[in-house]
């Protein structure tokens, strides 16, 4: 027997918001097209597009009396639109270094029809192969190339990410209003628009994490035996999927479940089944331990490098705060002043909002385990601000945002919703609503100014020196294609940062980092020969365009290069030294990119 119910206006303003969002996307597309043609006013349309996309949806989501179905429609619309913004930036090929790394892993799987084969440009990637498994499965079944298959996979991942997170928030807050606002606040995570929409294992892991969180809460809030058995199977699948997709996400996943278990023990929420969070934490930890110790043993070494210096750097920073005259390096963001002010405003708004949200969580959700946990995670935002100023801390802060913002978004949403409920008079409600909307807009703008790409790469366009995705152009693509077709696979080649990734991915070669000193030195002496010899480099790639300006990203070759190299324009004569080296063949010439075979020259005494 089937019951039906007709419900008027369950879509609300969603059809109109769809059109306004589409117009926002059209604006962004126009901005990108204008930027490709080098029109200087393109940036205006980019910002306009973002605002047209975000503001109407945020404004609608703030209103209390909006149907659940409409809220879900809005978050899907907005979440998918942000994915399309990234897709339109590079609609024909992957350009971002992270994507090229994962493209290569997928390429290796397609070529060898097996897993866990080595990828020189991201050695840990083959041991977290879930993204590439799904992508190559699609490629195998459809015949689509990796790029198209990967875009479809990430698009589907974005859908489950948005939906999973919303359902997770809704289940334990029991409010579609809070869940909706939290979902659109999560989209102000500075990595959401680009980094979390790229063809990377983290993008997929976050989606699976959101699905897992939804599955956990659904099990928690259902008491019938039928659901328990089914829910348990789903949870095992979800847990395992996250574990084999991305290392940092799986660590956060485990930490979050452990935190949940601890909070559950402390709070003893009425009706809460303690065995659920405790069991989940133990199961997750077991999966993780098994994977890291038996399969992905390389993970510790890979992540250890990033974390190694942090404790000392934090201690040094604290000492400098206590004793300012001690000097030393503090890391500050290098962005234009207006954007710096917007970023700082956003930090201020979030900091204030989290404080207010924590107040309401303590007052109204103190017996709600997950709400309390979200508050604790949100509180971690303050630690990330401090970490931002530690040398090397910017990267760690960036890595933490996709996870911290799960708590930050919920905490801010609680603050907004309960503030809006506080006043009954119409003018007061409107005032609070306006303030809330402006706050959302401010945080959204800050996510752009603090996020990736940086201001100089926000629009596609002509080649720029050492500018990450803005250095990927027809010349570098042609080089990659040529290397794939004509150079024996896995030849050891060294060049600039962009060349490293192009040749290591599309070119199928064994790219080598760290040869900046040898390439830019005016001499080809014993030290330079030793560097190249020890790295067993066969080919050196010289891109003469590197002499045109200083590196946009702050380095030409890799993050470890000396300040002497990165702070000075590269000397043309230094690059031309390879022309006069004995036994040095010039094997490739495209006018601006020359490749030298220095294998014999590096062996000279």
């Amino acid at each position: 027997m089937q019951t039906t119910k007709t419900s008027p206006s369950y879509l609300g303003l969603l059809p109109y918001l769809s059109v306004s969002s589409a117009l926002g996307l059209l604006c962004v597309s126009f901005a990108y097209s204008a930027a490709v043609e080098s029109y200087t006013w393109a940036g205006i349309f980019l910002w306009l597009g973002w605002l047209i996309l975000y503001i109407p949806n945020a404004a609608r989501m703030l209103i209390p009396d909006v149907a659940r179905s409409e809220r879900i429609g809005i978050i899907l619309l907005l979440g998918f639109s942000f994915f399309l913004i990234k897709a339109m930036y590079s609609p024909l090929e992957f350009k971002f270094a992270d994507e090229l790394q994962h493209w290569r892993t997928a390429d290796i799987i397609l070529q060898n029809d097996t897993l866990f084969d080595e990828n020189f440009i991201l050695q840990v990637s083959p041991y977290y192969p879930a993204l590439q498994i799904v992508t190559t499965a699609l490629s195998n079944l459809t015949g689509l190339p990796i790029f198209e298959s990967g875009m479809i996979v990430i698009a589907m991942a974005r859908i489950i990410f948005v939906l999973g997170l919303y359902l997770f928030f809704e289940k334990f807050s029991r409010s579609s209003h809070i869940a909706g606002i939290a979902s659109i606040l999560y989209m102000t995570n500075p990595h959401y628009q680009f980094l979390n929409a790229m063809f990377t294992y983290q993008a997929m892991a976050l989606a699976l994490l959101a699905f897992a969180l939804f599955a956990y809460t659904r099990l928690l809030y259902r008491s019938d035996a039928g659901h328990k058995r089914g829910g348990a199977i789903v949870i095992v699948l979800a847990l395992a999927s996250v574990t084999v997709t991305h290392h940092v996400t799986s660590y956060f996943h485990t930490a979050m479940l452990m935190g949940w278990a601890l909070v559950a023990i402390m709070i003893k929420q009425k009706g809460q089944k303690l065995f659920v969070p405790i069991g989940l934490a133990l199961l997750c930890f077991s999966f993780l331990a098994l994977w890291v110790t038996q399969v992905a043993t390389i993970t510790t070494e890979y992540l250890g490098e990033s974390l190694y210096h942090v404790p000392n750097d934090v201690i040094n920073l604290v000492e400098r705060i206590q004793n300012p005259s001690s000097g030393g390096e503090v890391s500050t963001p290098q962005i234009p002043l207006p954007e710096l002010l917007i970023s700082m405003m956003a930090v201020g708004l979030i900091s204030l909002g989290v404080m207010i949200g924590l107040f309401f969580i303590r007052r109204r959700y103190r017996k709600n385990t997950l709400a309390t946990l979200m508050g604790i995670v949100g509180f971690g935002y303050y630690a990330s601000i401090v970490l931002r100023f530690v040398p090397g801390g910017a990267e760690l802060t960036g890595r933490s945002w996709p996870f911290l913002f799960i708590g930050v978004a919920f905490t801010l949403a609680v603050a907004l919703v309960h503030l809006l409920e506080m006043r009954k008079k119409v003018w007061q409600q409107r005032l609070l609503y306006s303030m809330g909307l402006f706050g959302l807009i401010g945080i959204f703008l800050g996510s752009i100014t603090s996020g990736w790409p940086p201001y100089w790469a926000r629009l596609p366009g002509e080649y720029r020196v050492a500018a990450s995705e803005r250095s990927v152009d027809l010349q570098s693509n042609a080089l990659g294609q040529w290397a794939r077709e004509s150079v024996p696979e896995r030849t050891r080649i060294s060049g600039s940062f962009t060349i490293y990734y192009m040749l290591g991915s599309y070119g199928e070669q064994h790219s080598v980092f760290g040869m900046g000193q040898a390439i830019t030195s005016p001499r080809f002496g014993a030290r330079e020969r030793s560097l190249l010899r020890n790295a067993q480099v066969t080919y050196v790639v010289i891109d003469y365009r590197m002499t045109e300006s200083l590196p946009k990203r702050g380095f030409y070759f890799d993050t470890g290069e000396s300040s002497e190299i990165r702070e000075n324009r590269i000397d043309m004569e230094a690059l031309q030294k390879f022309e006069s080296l004995p036994q040095t063949s010039r094997v490739y010439d495209s006018g601006v990119i020359i490749i030298y075979d220095i294998e014999d020259a590096s062996l000279l005494p």
């Binding site: 007709t6 010039r586 495209s590 601006v592």
Partner: protein, 261 residues
């Protein structure tokens, strides 16, 4: 199930029609496994539409990931047929179990809660307009990238491949110029002309190459290739060269490296 079996047939027959395979494969990968499985485990459960959708896609992802490891550990390889067999088996299995469970549920079917609403023409029309605008936006960005302005250029290369007692030298060039370009190439071996060919016309992205097979014991001191544009016959447009590698003569004393640098 019928859709899955159709997709299986297309894959087994190795039909190379990408649009057809894409249309068939997308639901097989992203909808059917998750939908069939959650119907099995939540037969008596009330799920709203959003939850069903989330389970469908999330579980489909999980089963695809699981499938990768299953095939990896099996005697098969990660190729189209094993993948399609895997999806067929799990979809058919879950579908059959779900049907059996559904028919065996007592005293009628469980209540299923549907919200049925007829949308207005305006609302549907607005969605269509939105989709069209988005389509134009995506098409515009692809078009702009396809036609992005660039300075035309050409590549020239000379790459050796060692094969026992012979060196295979590949000399080639590719055009990325803005229009059809006519080239003249000469290849020299110690100043002796090996190849001199002119009026080679290439459209953009087209390439030309030739291979020389040179015994190691008579490999010259230097090979040179020069590329000219027919419109500028006296200007060397691109140039590459090749010296013998010492490792080609590892067991002989035929090459003596000079110190320098």
């Amino acid at each position: 199930m019928a859709w899955t079996l159709l997709c299986l047939g297309v894959v087994l027959a190795d039909i190379q029609n990408i649009p057809l395979r894409t249309v068939l494969a997308l639901p097989v990968m992203f909808i059917f496994p998750g939908y069939a499985f959650h119907t099995v485990i939540f037969t008596e459960d009330r799920l709203n539409t959003t939850e069903r959708f989330a389970y469908t896609i999330g579980l489909s992802f999980s089963f695809t990931i699981l499938g990768g490891f299953v095939i990896y550990l099996s005697p098969w390889t990660l190729t189209p047929v094993p993948w399609m067999v895997y999806f067929t088996v799990i979809i058919v299995l879950f579908s059959v179990i779900a049907m059996i469970k559904r028919f065996s549920v007592d005293s009628g079917e469980p209540l299923s809660y549907n919200v049925v609403r007829n949308g207005s023409r305006t609302e549907y029309g607005l969605f269509v307009v939105a989709i069209l605008i988005i389509g134009v936006a995506i098409w515009g960005s692809r078009l702009a990238n396809d036609n992005r302005p660039h300075n035309g250029f050409s590549e020239l290369w000379m790459i050796p491949q060692e094969e026992q007692d012979t060196i295979i030298v590949e000399v080639g060039f590719r055009s990325y110029e803005q229009h059809i370009t006519t080239y003249h190439i000469e290849v020299l071996k110690d100043d002796e002309i090996l190849l001199d060919e002119t009026n080679i016309e290439l459209v953009p992205s087209e390439s030309w190459k030739v291979e020389f097979s040179v015994p190691k014991d008579v490999f010259p001191d230097e090979m040179v290739a020069r590329l000219y544009l027919v419109d500028e016959p006296t200007t060397v447009y691109r140039e590459v060269n090749l010296y013998p590698h010492w490792r080609w003569y590892q067991n002989t004393d035929e090459v003596i490296l000079e110190s320098g640098g």
